[in-house]
Amino acid sequence: MSSPAAVEGRPAATPLVRPTGSRANGWWGMVLLIATEATLFAVLIASYFYIRFKSPAWPPDGINDPTVGRPLLNNGVLLASIVPMYLAERAVFRGRGALLRLGLLASFLLMLAYFALQLDSFWTSWHSFKPSEDTYASLVYTIVGAHWVHVGAGILLLAFVQLRAWLGHFDAERNVPVQVTALYVYFVGLLAIPVFLTSVSPAL
């Protein structure tokens, strides 16, 4: 993306198309990162069901069925973070800086809330069973933990982009970082659905 100064000094003969966000290189890069990450989760979840369909009891004796209510709440909070992010992304295209900053902040806080709630849930289940107990436990902790780590990355990304939004780095023309972050936030948010369904599947 060119800086305005370079555009002014440019000879008229040079074709210059105004950049459109959805076609930016960074956008493509993020789409591909998400593709490879989504594949990782597909493989993790496939491993879960591969082992499950070979096991006589699931969860094995000695481990209770997972609870549904609490993870539902946690993941619901995470899913909700998509909405303000979407509003923020729309806002930046229209050059509405205040709404952008507000949306980023709300999304950030919701993800943070999920992160804290999930930490608490981890702590609770840690008291009832440990990942080293058997393969069921290892798989559940690995899949949910991997998702949790990805949310952590999303939080850091949001924090960084937010900082730049408050510094006034974005407007209707310069907004690729916002779009890229939005893609990632949608991804970790939507990922909550398969991760949640997998982890509570024995209780369904």
Partner: protein
């Protein structure tokens, strides 16, 4: 005109010296580094192979013991697959994809530098295991249960797991970079049907990387968690299944065969039209066959597991899918042959290596089809027949094209011509050496010789074949040595190559040898599949430079185009030299080193350093260019 070129020279100038060595983001420097580093790993893995062949030359020989032998064949495989072939082809890709596309650089130049440093770091990481006498020793596919903590408690396997997780960062980042570059950085007019076949191959390979490597990563994460934190995934006693490793590994591993093979055939498709002196027959079909091969490659992994006792229906399905691969492979082989037969082939060293490839690869393909026949597969599983097959496919399918590419592009890389007679002699020694090494392995395998044995008793009838193989291996090494002598000698004695010594078809031949930092003074406009044969268009480039059209000399600029039609889309301000890719790679290496030895808090510090490096990276220039 001269004014514009001067401006470009000034804008794209990089000083020589240590600082630039660390901070450069130029795709040609990075490409050359990939080539040199990967070749160094090739020499290391070749030395390991020669040691093994020396040990096996005679029955009951004692050159190396069983423990060392296990490490040798494991590291030979790991190095050849992960540290030589893939990065070597990335090196060609890095150097020549932007040139063939008429671009100034890759889409993400700093990420490109980062990929290289991570590749180098992970290679050093894995090879440092030899210093501790604990190199990976469970073969390149590292099967559980042998790789589990109970059976291999020392660090050998951890070097493998963590080293490959580390390397995956590099390979994935590189693949993303290639895809976006090929989608977005093409010269105006290079619509999707005009993308050179080498770039199609790199594109198909990169998509395979994006979707295949996560399976390897998952397997390595599982095994690391098992070994380091007492998780369970692969022990039946704890509800796991060792076959899970095999499935995950081969879901990655078979596509990886194409990750290795696709760019190599891309080189073949780049060379054949030039020396046949006509455009490729069925250009579009070949491009589609490349993609189809990559796609079908995801549906055949179970054919590596026919001897593990899977249900009949599963095996039948995967046997059928494996046979399907012959269709796109056949299209490519016939396309190449038809191009050569209808052209006026000029036999030069690069084409000789390509012809050698076709012969050897067809033999490897035929034994491959034999494996799809399940009873035959079960008969020869884990014998030297398998070793013979995959060397015909991988050495034939990747190393022959790599050597073809080295000769083909050497004049572009260095500006010098190698000696053609010496090139042809070295090819024949290489070709004879290769077949003498690997053909007798078919027979030894059919006679029942298992792979991965460090020695064998006398009187089984294997001795003569093994001796021939060892003689072949040293002949092959001599051929490779001659190639190296020829190429390096050309730097001193070679004639100047000029921009286009072969009459090449694609755009890399439209600029000087070696190309300037900015590749093309005026961004070329493309109107056919063979842009460098469109003389009028290339002359027009010169006139456009005079008229200052599409020169982009206002800054450190490159042109992005639309994905399908390659219409000019936006002018990108490319990032300058940066220390952050190196620093980030260093921080990650630090983290992995401490994961290895089990200091997790210090490893966490590495993660913190990596985050700081990322913040520095993104603060350096406006992120809109990232």
């Amino acid at each position: 005109m001269a004014v514009n070129v001067e401006r470009l020279e000034r804008i794209w100038f990089e000083p020589t010296g240590l600082k630039t060595f660390v901070t450069t983001v130029n795709h040609k420097k990075i490409g050359k580094r990939y080539l040199v580093t990967a070749f160094a790993f090739f020499v290391a893995a070749g030395a390991e192979a020669l040691l093994m062949r020396t040990q096996l030359a005679r029955p009951e020989s004692g050159v190396v013991g069983p423990k060392t032998y296990n490490e040798l064949f494991s590291m030979h495989g790991v190095t050849m697959i992960f540290l030589f072939v893939t990065p070597m082809l990335s090196g060609f890709g890095n150097y020549f994809v932007p040139l063939q596309l008429g671009a100034r650089d890759m889409a993400f130049p700093r990420m490109n530098a980062f990929s290289y440093w991570v590749f180098l770091g992970s290679g050093i990481f894995m090879y440092s295991s030899f210093l501790f006498g604990e190199a990976p020793n469970d073969g390149w596919f590292n099967y559980a249960p042998l790789s589990q903590r109970e059976y291999t408690p020392s660090l050998n396997i951890d070097f493998y797991n963590l080293g490959l997780l580390f390397l995956t960062i590099s390979t994935t980042a590189g693949a993303v970079n290639f895809i976006v570059t090929i989608f977005k950085m093409r010269a105006p007019g290079m619509s999707i049907n005009r993308i050179p076949l080498f770039c199609w191959a790199i594109l198909a390979q990169s998509f395979s990387v994006v979707f295949a490597l996560p399976a390897l990563s998952a397997a390595n994460i599982f095994l690391s968690l098992e070994r380091k934190f007492h998780f369970h995934f692969f022990s039946p006693g704890d509800g796991g299944d060792p076959l899970l490793w095999q499935h995950l590994f081969w879901i990655f591993g078979h596509p990886d065969v194409y990750i290795i093979f696709l760019p190599a055939i891309g080189i073949v498709s780049a060379i054949i039209p030039t020396f046949a002196r006509r455009p490729m027959v069925m250009h579009t079909w070949l491009a589609l066959a490349t993609l189809t091969t990559g796609f079908i490659g995801f549906g055949v992994w179970v054919h590596h597991m026919f001897a593990t006792g899977l249900p009949q229906i599963t095996m039948t399905f995967f046997a059928a899918a494996s046979l399907l691969i012959t269709i796109p492979s056949g299209i490519q082989i016939f396309g190449w042959c038809a191009t050569l037969l209808t052209g006026a082939p000029l036999i030069r060293t690069p084409l000789l290596f390509v012809l050698g490839f076709i012969v050897v690869f067809v033999i490897g393909g035929v034994t491959g089809v034999m494996f799809a026949v399940i009873p035959f597969d079960q008969q020869v599983t884990d014998t030297y027949f398998v070793v013979a097959h995959f060397h015909y496919v991988l050495f034939g399918g990747a190393v022959f094209p790599i050597f073809a590419g080295l000769h083909y592009w050497w004049p572009k890389l260095t500006g010098r011509m190698f000696s053609e007679p010496l090139g042809q002699v070295s090819f024949w020694i290489f070709f004879v050496g290769f077949n003498l090494t690997f053909f007798p392995m078919h027979i030894a395998g059919l006679l029942g010789m298992p792979r991965r044995v460090y020695t064998y008793p006398d009187g089984l009838g294997w001795g003569i074949y093994n001796l021939l193989e060892t003689i072949g291996a040293f002949t092959l090494a001599l051929g490779i040595l001659l190639v190296v002598v020829n190429l390096l000698g050309s730097l001193r004695f070679g004639a100047l190559a000029g921009p286009d010594p072969w009459g090449g078809e694609t755009l890399e031949w439209a600029t000087t040898s070696p190309p300037p930092e900015y590749n093309f003074a005026a961004i070329p406009l493309v109107r056919s599949n063979s842009p460098n044969w469109d003389r009028a268009d290339r002359e027009e480039d010169v006139h456009r430079l005079e008229r200052n059209e599409l020169v982009l000399a206002e800054g450190h600029e490159a042109l992005a185009t639309t994905v399908l039609d390659a219409d000019a889309d936006q002018v990108l301000e490319m990032p300058p030299e940066s220390p952050w890719p190196f620093v980030l790679a260093l921080a990650i290496a630090f983290g992995f080193a401490f994961l290895l030895v089990g200091h997790y808090l210090v490893a966490g510090l590495g993660a913190g350093l990596a985050l700081a490096a990322l913040a520095g990276w993104h603060s350096q220039t406006p992120m809109e260019t990232a």
